[in-house]
Amino acid sequence: MQTNHRVTQLRLPKNTVDSRAKTYWALNIGISIALVIISLGIMMVIFPGLRGVFGIVLIVGLVLGVSGMLFVPRHLFHYHRWEVTDEAVYASSGWLWREWRIAPLSRIQTVDTEHGPLQQAFGLATVTITTASAAGPIKVSGLSKKTAAELAEKLTKMTQVTREDAT
């Protein structure tokens, strides 16, 4: 084993996702907050005795949620990146709980693009890259539709060249 590991660290992948993803994430957080507020409101109607408690939770949730909407997407945008080299695909995601994924192109089995209704509205798409592992696919979300299509095509082409059993 190497011993000079003290300063070795992963750098971030080169490409950021589409900047519209920030608004998309903010909206996503907003929707979650709205759902929480609605359910808290219903609770307040059902249990009038506990209105005080729910009220406090609601205010705290609202403050946290709105500040989350303002600040979280920016951080997510910084860490949410991807890169493809001749050998591998590399993606990073998450802000507090971070995750880095690397898969050699020779091990890629399928490449799919998908866009949900909300992503559609923003012109965004997700590229899902699966390998033969049951550990789950690599997902790059928040790409513009054009970039996503290009990435998928590029990966499909490159993986066809190195087609083996991939297990």
């Binding site: 000079n4 507090l96 709980w97 971070r98």
Partner: protein
């Protein structure tokens, strides 16, 4: 070797055997109605019996009569169904496992069920499997040999025995405690039966209490104690029996055509074939009590075989039952052809102390949370002093197991293998072939970031699908990944600044 071009059928004997099983099953049901007391329900019982029996037998006859299979050079095809016709076909080069099982009745009549697995789990399970129920045992074994044979290979099928069952291993089976689960099941089943016959539970309890009440307090205490000892002994005996049923007759052999052949089972005979070229590693599994007794279990990590977390495939991947560590090590090194594995297990690289603190904080935190919740609910307020005593005891226990869990953490790269060990109550050591790793995943929580730890996850197409090196120093984790698959990460790391 029969390699006939035509379509083949199932063994018709299976219809008779299934009919016998059906008779037993439906007779049980009918019996309940027959003896329920009045004529009407007795008639219903008979009607159910006859109707159910006929339906089952007719369905089985149709199944057997319509099922045909065909083995060509490229594919195995299966057709069945009368009205709802089903045709299935799997390419022969996709077949990765051929399992033969036989229930006790099948064994008496030399029948066996054969299951072809392709290891494709993308869709539903059925897609990747093809079952023939049942063929004559001889026919099934022929098929197994035929289907697992690589083309243009010697038909000579010499085999070398790698391991066989040893009766003295049974001491680990007793520690396995599986019998106690059976007792639980038995008690549950007894309750169900009593409920069915409308037993008066209250009366039973009252009667039992009366019987015990006749004796003095001391005698009653002795009786209860004796009952516990009795349950314990029965549990141990049952554990041993379960183990014998599962593992007696265990034999693992290596065929010259590159497959491993595992047979086991006393009443239910099981036979599994594994292609050696699909083996990606092994996993040592050491439940605490078995570890203390100096034993372990060995699982095999095979691509396209049991790549799911369900119990069946977990059970199927066991290649040696609980046995002494030396035996397990011997088999592991034989399977992987890597003699250094055995030593490596005792010389794994340790994880930073921060990993220990994280283990302790996580566990104590969980206990604190539970106690906190108990304290906030007024119900337990008068337990207050007790809570602290119990909490102190639990925390002490946690400290002990935490040290053990930390001691278990270890990782290394030895030759062609990545080794990762963790766990206290169930310690697992994965020995994964480097070339079997098909990707990396690194994870870091805010708490890990603070102490510069990282979780390295090697993804693979075999076994559990992902093997974790938990809480490793972040730099070392990345170096480890770089050593395991050279060059892959080079473009993505920041070069070390110091040149020492």
């Amino acid at each position: 070797m029969t390699k006939s071009k035509g379509w083949q059928r199932l063994d018709p004997l299976v219809i008779w055997l299934d009919a016998v099983i059906a008779t037993l099953g439906f007779a049980g049901l009918a019996w309940y109605f027959l003896f329920s007391g009045n004529l009407r329900s007795a008639l219903i019982g008979v009607a159910i019996f006859v109707g159910g029996f006929l339906f089952f037998v007719v369905a089985d006859i149709i199944r057997c009569a319509t099922t045909r299979f065909h083995i060509s050079d490229e594919r195995v095809e299966l057709r069945y169904g009368l009205l709802w016709k089903v045709q299935r076909s799997i390419p022969r080069d996709r077949i990765r496992s051929v399992d033969i099982t036989a229930n006790p009745l099948y064994r008496i009549f030399s029948l066996a069920t054969i299951k072809l697995g392709t290891g494709q789990h993308s869709g539903n399970v059925e897609k990747g499997e093809l079952t023939l129920d049942a063929l004559s045992l001889q026919r099934a074994e022929e098929l197994q040999r035929l289907l697992l044979q690589r083309p243009r290979e010697a038909t000579r099928n010499d085999q070398v025995t790698m391991a066989t069952f040893q009766f003295k291993w049974i001491r680990f089976a007793i520690l396995g405690l599986s019998g106690f689960a059976l007792i639980g099941l038995g008690v549950g089943a007894l309750g169900q039966i009593l409920e069915l016959v409308n037993a008066d539970f209250e009366a039973i309890w009252r009667h039992a209490a009366e019987v015990v009440g006749q004796y003095s307090l001391g005698a009653a205490f002795v009786m209860i104690f004796a009952a516990f000892v009795g349950i314990f002994i029965v549990g141990i005996i049952l554990s041993a029996l379960v183990y014998l049923e599962n593992w007696s007759g265990y034999r693992l052999s290596r065929m010259t055509n590159g497959t491993l052949h595992l047979t086991r089972g006393l009443l239910f005979r099981r036979s599994v074939s594994i292609e050696e070229r699909r083996i990606r590693g092994v996993e040592y599994s050491e439940p605490l009590q078995i570890r203390w007794a100096g034993g372990a279990l060995l699982r095999v990590i095979v691509s396209g075989f049991g790549q799911k977390e369900d119990d069946m495939s977990q059970e199927a991947s066991i290649i040696m039952p609980a046995a002494p560590q030396a035996e397990i090590d011997r088999l592991a090194t034989d399977l992987l052809k890597a003699p250094s594995i055995r030593l490596a297990r005792f010389q794994l690289r340790k994880h930073p102390k921060a990993a220990l603190y994280r283990i302790i904080i996580r566990r104590v935190g969980a206990v604190a949370l539970i106690i906190g919740l108990l304290l906030t609910t007024n119900v337990f307020i008068h337990w207050l002093t007790w809570v602290w005593v119990v909490a102190a005891l639990i925390c002490g226990l946690i400290m002990l197991t935490s040290f053990d869990a930390y001691h278990s953490l270890g990782h290394d790269i030895r030759g062609d293998y990545l080794i990762a060990r963790r766990g206290s109550l169930l310690r697992r050591t994965a020995v994964l072939q480097r070339s079997g790793i098909i990707g990396w995943k690194f994870r870091q929580s805010p708490f890990q970031r603070r102490v510069d730890l990282i979780t390295l996850i090697a993804t693979t197409a075999a076994g559990r699908g992902a093997y974790k090196v938990f809480d490793v120093d972040s730099g070392e984790g990345i170096s480890m990944a770089r050593v395991a698959i050279p060059k892959l990460l080079d473009a993505f790391v920041e070069q070390p600044k110091d040149t020492s």
